[in-house]
């Protein structure tokens, strides 16, 4: 009749995030900046573009020279020359004049707009017929229109996407200040667990959690580091935990799921220097027996052994702690999108507990249907079938068939 612990509500677990440190910074070549977290604000040191550019192929003109022009009443302009790409034009364009220009070309002095190729016709080498008027700045990107000089264009804590890489390229940033990727130490325990190289004997199963967590850590933008498997013995497990702790920014112990393994994990955490158990049990399902400690100021997790539980707890609980350690600023990044769907069946849920239900998404004529992939949390096939999770909060007793739900898709490319 032991195993009574005080479970913590999910929101209270997240309140612990701020108590943990953020990793340091480093600089990386721009080629490697994609998907990293920016560690410093970026201020533009130049106007982009540095000159007025044409957005079309056509003729640079003074807009006023084209006012009133039409098919029946064209404007006639004098052709002054052609703008060479990448060069300052060697001629100017004033009222009644025009110059050939390509997309991206620099507007000649005097001109303020570009007539599109298809709205004009060269009737001889020196004369252009224009059939349509163009407003001032028409078909032009003004100097500094994209990014003005001395503007904070990116903020620390932003995850760098391809477009942020593009902006950094535009500013000539060959090296980018980013946060280091947190190193997450992985230890597996449990006397019933064998390496995947072995054929499991009676009562044994292969070490699945190390592999699923390794992959989830990669997807979370961190570096997984394997410290191997420990039998359920205090001394070897304690040694492994100490080694992992000194070489990682966070440690996850996982694998065994018995109360014996859990008690041992708690005992080992207590024996670590500067350690404190913060959470012992979370009011979520699956994943209730999750442990969070602080050891040497780092987060130290004991994850449930059931494979689906460990995956769900990683995604819904551990990942935000990794994002924090990695320097990610939630206000600077869009949250993972939710997908609206309808529930395929009634779903019971206990009040006072946050439930995460694995669902498969199905496209139907009435829209997306979320079909619960029900099954024990020790089964991996429920995770294989599922496209994501729905969250049933602690104040909801259950959901009815056809209820609108928000599906949290599993991470991916």
């Amino acid at each position: 009749m032991k195993d009574f612990f005080t479970v913590t509500p999910l929101h209270a677990v997240f309140e612990k995030i701020g108590g943990f440190p953020v990793v340091g910074g480093e600089t990386v070549p721009l080629w490697e900046a994609n998907n990293r977290i920016l560690a410093e604000d970026i201020v533009s040191d130049m106007d982009i573009p540095g000159f007025a550019r044409s957005t079309v192929d056509g003729y640079a003109v003074c807009a006023s020279s084209t006012f009133g022009a039409s098919e029946t009443n064209p404007a006639y302009l004098t052709l002054k020359g052609a703008v060479a790409m990448g060069k300052t034009p060697d001629f100017s364009v004033f009222a009644g004049e025009a110059g050939r220009i390509s997309t991206g070309g620099m507007l000649p002095p005097g001109s303020d707009s570009v007539v599109m190729l298809e709205h004009a016709n060269e009737i001889d080498d020196a004369t252009l017929e224009v059939y349509k008027s163009v407003p001032p700045m028409g078909n032009v990107i003004a100097e500094a229109e994209d990014i003005p000089k001395n503007q904070t264009v990116l903020f620390a804590g932003t995850r760098i996407r391809p477009q942020e890489v593009g902006l950094l390229a535009a500013l000539g940033k060959e090296r980018v200040p980013v946060f280091k990727k947190p190193v997450i130490g992985l230890i597996s325990t449990g006397d019933e667990i064998v390496d995947i190289q072995s054929r499991p004997g009676p009562g044994q199963i292969r070490d699945i959690n190390t592999y699923t967590l390794y992959s989830q850590i990669q997807n979370a933008g961190a570096i997984p580091k394997i410290f191997g498997r420990a039998a359920d013995d205090r001394e070897p497990l304690l040694e492994k935990c100490k080694t992992a702790l000194s070489a990682s920014d966070m440690v996850i112990v996982s694998g065994g799921s018995s109360v014996g393994t859990r008690d041992l994990t708690l005992e080992v955490i207590a024996a670590l220097p500067n350690s404190e158990i913060l959470i012992h049990g979370i009011s979520i399902s699956p994943g209730k027996p999750t442990i969070l400690a602080r050891a040497d100021s780092k987060p130290f997790w004991g994850l449930p052994g059931h494979v689906a539980s460990a995956m769900v707890v990683f995604d819904r609980v551990v990942r935000p702690f990794i994002a924090h350690a990695a320097g990610m600023d939630p206000s600077r990044n869009p949250r993972r999108p939710r997908i609206s769907a309808r529930l395929s069946r009634n779903l019971a849920s206990a009040q006072g507990r946050t439930d995460f239900v694995r669902v498969k998404l199905e496209e139907t004529e009435e829209g997306l249907l979320a079909r619960p992939a029900l099954g024990k949390s020790g089964l991996i096939h429920t995770m294989l079938k599922a496209d994501g999770l729905i969250e049933i909060d602690a104040n909801t007793e259950g959901l009815e068939k056809d209820a609108p739900v928000s599906v949290i898709p599993f991470q991916g490319i």
Copy 2:
């Protein structure tokens, strides 16, 4: 008055995908299989689990011994021993008997269910009081319940997520057959483009597209390979294209956006051995001047030079070709989720053309709002502001404020 080309509707572009080859296979260690594409079907060579396991900490029993048990009328069972984790139990449990068992433990012969710890009490070393009945197979994962032997559990063409890695671990697959990552050659052109190391002079801009495309190719699960910048000259560009083609599975020429660059690209493609222009212009916005050719049986792209155009065309047009080359089977993978939102304003769109509008998502009390990040497609800041795209199909003339829209989120972690 040249530059009149016959634009191809978007759906007709995708019909070309099947005409291109898929890369070959390789095997990788399971550690590196996450996010790769499986190249062969996987058949289970064993039952998982290989034995009936307990899903809770408690007592293995014959369910019938507990029928009718309650707080006021407990069942009394004889304790036979404790199941050691990872071992075959050295005792059996028949009617009227019980054995201590931990989560993940192997059920002793004779037992068919497990009473949870909190529903029982050991009144002495040999006697267990049970307060609640358990049904047959209650709190048990049956032998082979997760994955039965000789079942095709994963199919070629599936992108491997953490849960697929877990399944492969459960089956002991130390090495996994996957498709190679396609190598995508990148060439940039345009006389106005300078390397990012240079400070652009008048009329010049830095080479942004190489960097945005490099990052987008990474996110698409392929390997970007840079072949550098070529001025708008036939011979050096042709040489670069030949080199890129021989060393890549697909080539993208990008950078310059003028009609001159485009004409040159077409001329160079025509000069490549075994080449054929398949598409010259797509009825999409942005991105109309996109070129697709087949050269040496590989896809060869000319992307528009405007940075936002190139990014949108990559995401909406090129990426499905990369997924095909990479061996991805669309029927085996969930498509990228769409996010339901309401449009913040009226939006015009030309009929006969598919429009991709960059939008920022805003959470409001009435739900998600999609706010168009309007601006010229030569501006990168419209991409920086945006969280995704909405697609307005060729048969729609425009959308009204508050219309429900599906937002295609930009890819990410």
